[in-house]
């Protein structure tokens, strides 16, 4: 009898457990199969498995396709210092044997918190040693430096090395720490329009009359939308629509495609992009205000539905949720004070250094031969490693040397740059030294 019952017991356990796993495998929440904590970069979308695991039993090639789907454009833009082709070239087969950099996952394995270092790196930090073992011989300035310091702030960036290569360092040496007239990038067209907007006389459609709210009408009629003939019916077709975060994003995306796709690439919109419900502060891993924890992130979280207050979007919106030292120190920082003066109308708009100035900077791009300025809505674009900010943000006002030092000083970052850097990164000095040596050598030979 015991035997009979034990077989039955085993069968029950097996079928229950098996049923549970099978069900989970085809359900939307597959968290049971997560092998470990997902990195900060992807944790928001860890349950949208098919975003990265494009197909079941896909293998490494399909994973690579998924990585490239989101990150390849960006890598091209920053002129990736170690592009795939450096390794796929048949002449470089030996490099692949050392480090198979054809695949992102060689260095960036996901769900492996136990081996994850800075920047989602899952190989030992001195990985550069594999190919650059001789760097000390090639460059006297580097001899004796540990290979685990290559990636230090202000030194090297495996992918985006635009602000750190030798010519650039030498070129930008010896500048005053602050420019004579520190101005960030010119305003976007939208910003111009907002600033010049007048109260519009557009008609309100009849079917909206019963539901009309005077405040909404006022907000709208003084907004850029009213000025650009974007009336109620452009967005609304009836009064009883439900405006979910997804619906709002979809609605705005109709006109603001570039902004919307930037938003969806960053941490604010990646959940919506992945088909998950919107990001909320409670899902974040960085400090957030508790009272904001349930706020769902979509376009209108920062921009309002009917008014178009860019000042709110630039500072207040951010500070409503974010609660780190860096954020909280902002109002009393130098940057914060300048911005307050600008918002008070005491200084030019281009001199403001708001949250958005650095984290969602205005960028210029050539469109049809014309330079168009737009706001980068991917807050993550220049965030990590922070030396990605040097060219696009810091150097608008500051010298390269000052910026490198400031970004390497973590205390300074947490006080939101309230003061001067207390440490010095020798990148520029090294570049200059090496130039001098090379010139000496040239002189000797000629």
């Amino acid at each position: 009898m015991t035997r009979y019952w034990s077989w039955l017991g085993w069968l029950i356990i097996t079928s229950t457990l098996g049923g549970f796993f099978t069900y989970t495998l085809f359900s939307s929440d597959k968290s049971v199969f997560l092998i470990g904590k997902t990195t900060d970069g992807h944790h928001q979308i860890e349950l949208a498995c098919e975003n990265c695991h494009l197909s079941s039993f896909g293998g490494t090639e399909l994973l690579q396709e998924a990585c490239e789907g989101c990150h390849l454009e960006e890598l091209k833009e920053v002129r990736d210092a170690h592009p795939k082709r450096k390794f796929t070239d048949p002449g470089n087969a030996d490099r692949v044997a050392i480090l198979d950099a054809r695949f992102c996952v060689t260095c960036h394995r996901e769900h492996r918190e136990d081996i994850t270092n800075n920047m989602g790196l899952t190989v030992p930090e001195d990985v550069c040693f594999l190919c650059h073992e001789d760097i000390g011989n090639e460059r006297a300035t580097h001899s004796g430096l540990g290979f685990n310091t290559c990636g230090n702030s202000g030194c090297h960036n495996f992918h985006d090395n635009r602000a750190l290569f030798e010519d650039f360092l030498v070129e930008n040496a010896d500048q005053p720490w602050l420019k004579a007239s520190p101005l960030v990038a010119p305003l976007t067209r939208a910003e111009h329009l907002i600033l010049t907007a007048t109260t519009s006389q557009s008609q309100i459609p009849d079917f909206f009359q019963p539901a009309l709210n005077q405040e909404i009408v006022e907000n709208w009629s003084s907004s850029i939308h009213a000025n650009a003939d974007v009336d109620c019916a452009t967005c609304h077709s009836s009064v009883d629509e439900s405006w979910t975060p997804e619906a709002i994003l979809k609605n705005c995306d109709g006109c603001h495609e570039r902004q919307s796709s930037g938003f969806q690439l960053g941490k604010h919109g990646m959940r919506l992009a992945s088909g998950l419900d919107a990001m909320t502060p409670e899902k974040a891993r960085i400090p957030m205000h508790e009272n904001a924890s349930a706020k769902a992130l979509t376009c209108s979280s920062c921009h309002g539905s009917h008014d178009t207050n860019i000042q709110f979007a630039a500072v207040e919106a951010c500070m409503g949720c974010h609660n780190s030292d860096h954020v909280n120190a902002y109002p009393k920082s130098r940057h914060g004070e300048i911005t307050a003066r600008v918002f008070a109308g005491e200084a030019a708009l281009e001199s403001a250094v708001s949250c958005a100035t650095c984290h969602m900077p205005r960028e210029s791009a050539l469109v049809g031969g014309q330079s168009i300025t737009h706001v980068q809505h991917n807050q993550n674009d220049n965030l990590k490693p922070n030396d990605k900010m040097l060219r696009t943000v810091c150097m608008n006002c500051h010298s390269l040397a000052f910026s490198i030092d400031a970004l390497a000083d973590e205390t300074l970052i947490s006080t939101n740059f309230n003061g001067r850097p207390t440490l010095h990164v020798e990148s520029i000095d090294m570049a200059i030294d090496r130039r001098a040596i090379l010139q000496d050598r040239d002189t000797t030979y000629h």
């Binding site: 356990i13 097996t14 098996g18 049971v32 199969f33 997560l34 092998i35 190989v123 030992p124 930090e125």
Partner: protein, 664 residues
């Protein structure tokens, strides 16, 4: 004339019947055993008494009227080939022709002759010992006479303070008869008990109203010169060796027994104190066996029924051609004497040799007296007055000459228990539903059923129920069941089991302490962590683990399925543990002791727990004999179950682990 059947099994056996002389318990046990082995062989059994076979052991109960006369008769198996001759003693043996002559003058031929003659009471040479109202107490006839005498006796004197003497004394007390026991030895039951126990017993016996006189000899029986009954002089009293005269009207002689050797002596069979037998219990004539009380093996005589049963079994098997040997029996008795439990086994005479050490536990308030005897720290004897739950284990340990250590002795002196004292060793006291054989799941109830159906030896019970056919660790328990005392626990490979299990446990303990192994911090060294990071290595180690797990299941198959019986279970068990140990090592390479999250965590935890429980079970089994059987069995069963139960989810977890690795 009957046509004889062809008997194709006999080896050197002619067609004549096997003849048993004596229908006491031992003769009947032989009959039973032999007829089971050879139902086709003709059997003749002769008894000199004018009664159907009866159980001599119960006579004192009958005398005390504790039981009725019908209850003492032993049923004789109804066999077609059996002839019972009662009131028909064998008077003569013609060894040259293999013939015996019965009291009626008929000759019977035999192929083998089994003498189970028993013994007669020893009657000391005392003046007037043969007068009226002097009795012996040995057989049913004596019992009837005593029962009659009991009615008119006012004071009965029992000569002999041994077991039978005391039982007789108790029985004779029945009609408010005054009873006095005169014992020659220094204390009661001096063959089985030491002085301390003897004195305690004496106190108990005296409490029940029996008078005891020790270290005295009856030197003369005083004759009553009664004119009314001139036919035969009768008892008036007894004079002791110190001159004291005890007036009494009845004397019962219970001064020991002497093997019946007359028949053997008269026909040239070698005798000493008993009929001399070799290790097959053959007398000097190899066609004639002697068993029970009439036999003498080496210097040993037998006064109890248990060795006689062993003799019966040995001879029954030997006649059928098996080379069974008798190796002697350690004398053991566990009896109720005058309502008091008395237990005695092995060497209990502290004066026998200088090297013997005696330890005593005495608790007068609870009426418990226990003593153990050791030679070189090995148990050689024990005795007790009162209950001793450990007595079966004590007996087995004495048979196996088990070593005991200072803590055993300390415990014994403090508590009266050599081992743990909580549970009863005797499996007959276990509840019927309790599993005795864990491997086959046979319960105590099933064993009892088999036992009652006639499986009276460990071997038979084992064959019938399959108990103890797998790992064999419960064999000693079965022997407790059947009262066989020479069944040693012969589980093989326990050493291997111990060391592999220990290795496994230590390995797991190291894992526990070390936790996850660190990953390489630099690429400038040997990347040992590639073992549990590199996909190829992981597949190799992972599938190896799967194979090991599957392969180790073969043990379970071997244990549970009759059709899969490749090699011995004990070997499989060692392989099983060895595979576990190898799996633990490969697990290290596969995971680096990282438990992972979610499914992987469950799988890893489950696997580690299975290994741990397996290791502990192995370790426990290798040491199970140090535990009390019931405790050990229970604990082992729990460990095994936990090990098995933990395995249940493993196939599913493993399947989905492998699936998820390739799926994602």
């Amino acid at each position: 004339m009957k046509k004889l059947k062809v008997q194709n099994y006999t080896q050197g056996m002619n067609d004549a019947p096997v003849i048993i002389v004596g229908a006491g318990p031992v003769g009947l046990r032989f009959l039973e055993e032999f007829s089971t082995l050879r139902p086709a062989t003709e059997l003749k059994i002769f008894t000199g008494e004018p009664f159907k076979p009866y159980d001599r052991v119960k006579l004192s109960q009958l005398l005390a009227r504790d039981i009725l006369e019908e209850e003492i008769y032993t049923p004789v198996p109804t066999l077609a080939k059996l002839e019972l001759f009662d009131n028909c003693p064998i008077t003569s043996i013609d060894r040259s022709k293999n013939l015996v002559q019965d009291a009626s003058g008929n000759w019977h031929s035999y192929s083998k002759l089994v003498l189970a003659l028993g013994s007669s009471p020893f009657v000391p040479n005392i003046p007037n010992i043969d007068i009226k109202n002097v009795f012996t107490f040995r057989n049913l006839k004596d019992t009837q006479a005593l029962a009659a005498r009991n009615l008119s006796s006012r004071h009965t004197l029992v000569i002999g303070g041994g077991l039978l003497g005391l039982e007789t004394a108790r029985a004779m007390q029945r009609n408010n008869t005054r009873v006095t026991v005169v014992q020659l030895g220094k204390h009661l039951m001096d063959k089985q008990l030491d002085k301390g126990a003897g004195l305690i017993l004496q106190t108990q016996v005296e409490k029940s109203g029996i008078e005891i006189i020790c270290a005295r000899l009856v030197s003369e029986i005083i004759v009553e010169n009664n004119n009314l009954n001139t036919n035969r002089p009768q008892v008036k009293g007894a004079k002791l060796d110190n001159g004291t005269v005890i007036e009494c009207d009845t004397i019962i002689i219970s001064a020991g027994i002497r093997p019946r050797t007359d028949l053997a002596r008269q026909h040239g069979i070698a005798i000493d104190k008993g009929i001399k037998v070799n290790e097959h219990l053959q007398t000097s004539d190899h066609n004639i066996y002697a068993i029970g009380e009439c036999a003498q093996f080496k210097d040993q005589l037998f006064g109890l029924v248990a060795p006689g049963f062993e003799h019966a079994s040995v001879v029954a098997h030997h006649i059928t051609g098996e080379n069974t040997r008798y190796e002697g029996t350690i004398k053991a008795s566990s009896l109720k004497v005058v309502g008091q439990k008395v237990f005695s086994v092995g060497e209990t005479n502290p004066e026998v040799g200088k090297s013997i050490t005696q330890y005593i536990f005495n608790n007068p308030s609870s009426g418990i007296y226990r003593s153990i005897f050791t030679i070189n720290n090995r148990l050689v004897g024990a005795l007790a007055i009162g209950e001793w739950p450990e007595q079966n284990r004590i007996r087995n340990s004495i048979i196996e000459r088990r070593k005991i250590y200072w803590w055993h002795i300390l415990l014994f002196k403090l508590s009266g228990f050599v081992w743990n004292y909580q549970q009863e060793e005797d499996i007959r006291t276990w509840p019927p539903s309790m599993v005795v054989c864990n491997c086959t799941g046979v319960t105590r109830g099933q064993l009892t059923a088999a036992y009652e159906n006639g499986a009276c030896s460990v071997e038979k019970i084992s064959n019938e129920t399959r108990a103890s056919t797998v790992c064999g660790s419960c064999r000693p328990l079965l022997s407790g069941f059947t009262n066989e005392t020479n069944t040693k626990n012969t589980v093989e490979g326990l050493g291997w089991l111990k060391w592999t299990s220990l290795f496994l446990c230590i390995l797991l303990a190291i894992y526990w302490i070390s936790g996850p192994l660190p990953f390489a911090e630099t690429v400038q060294q040997i990347r040992y962590d590639q073992l549990w990071l590199d996909s190829l290595f992981k597949q190799v180690t992972g599938f190896s683990l799967m194979a090991l797990a599957t392969f180790s299941l073969l043990m379970s198959l071997n244990k549970r399925c009759k059709w899969f019986s490749l090699g011995k279970f004990t070997s499989w068990r060692i392989i099983h543990v060895l595979l576990g140990a190898i799996a633990a090592i490969i697990l290290l390479a596969h995971t680096g002791i990282n438990t992972g999250d979610n499914l992987n965590f469950w799988l890893m935890t489950d696997f580690l727990l299975i290994l741990l429980l397996g290791g502990l079970t192995g370790l426990f089994i290798s040491k199970e004999q140090n535990f009390k059987a019931k405790t050990g069995k229970k604990f082992r069963s729990q460990l095994t179950w936990a090990h098995t139960f933990l395995f249940w989810p493993l196939p599913t977890l493993l399947f989905f682990h492998v699936l998820s690795v390739y799926y994602f």
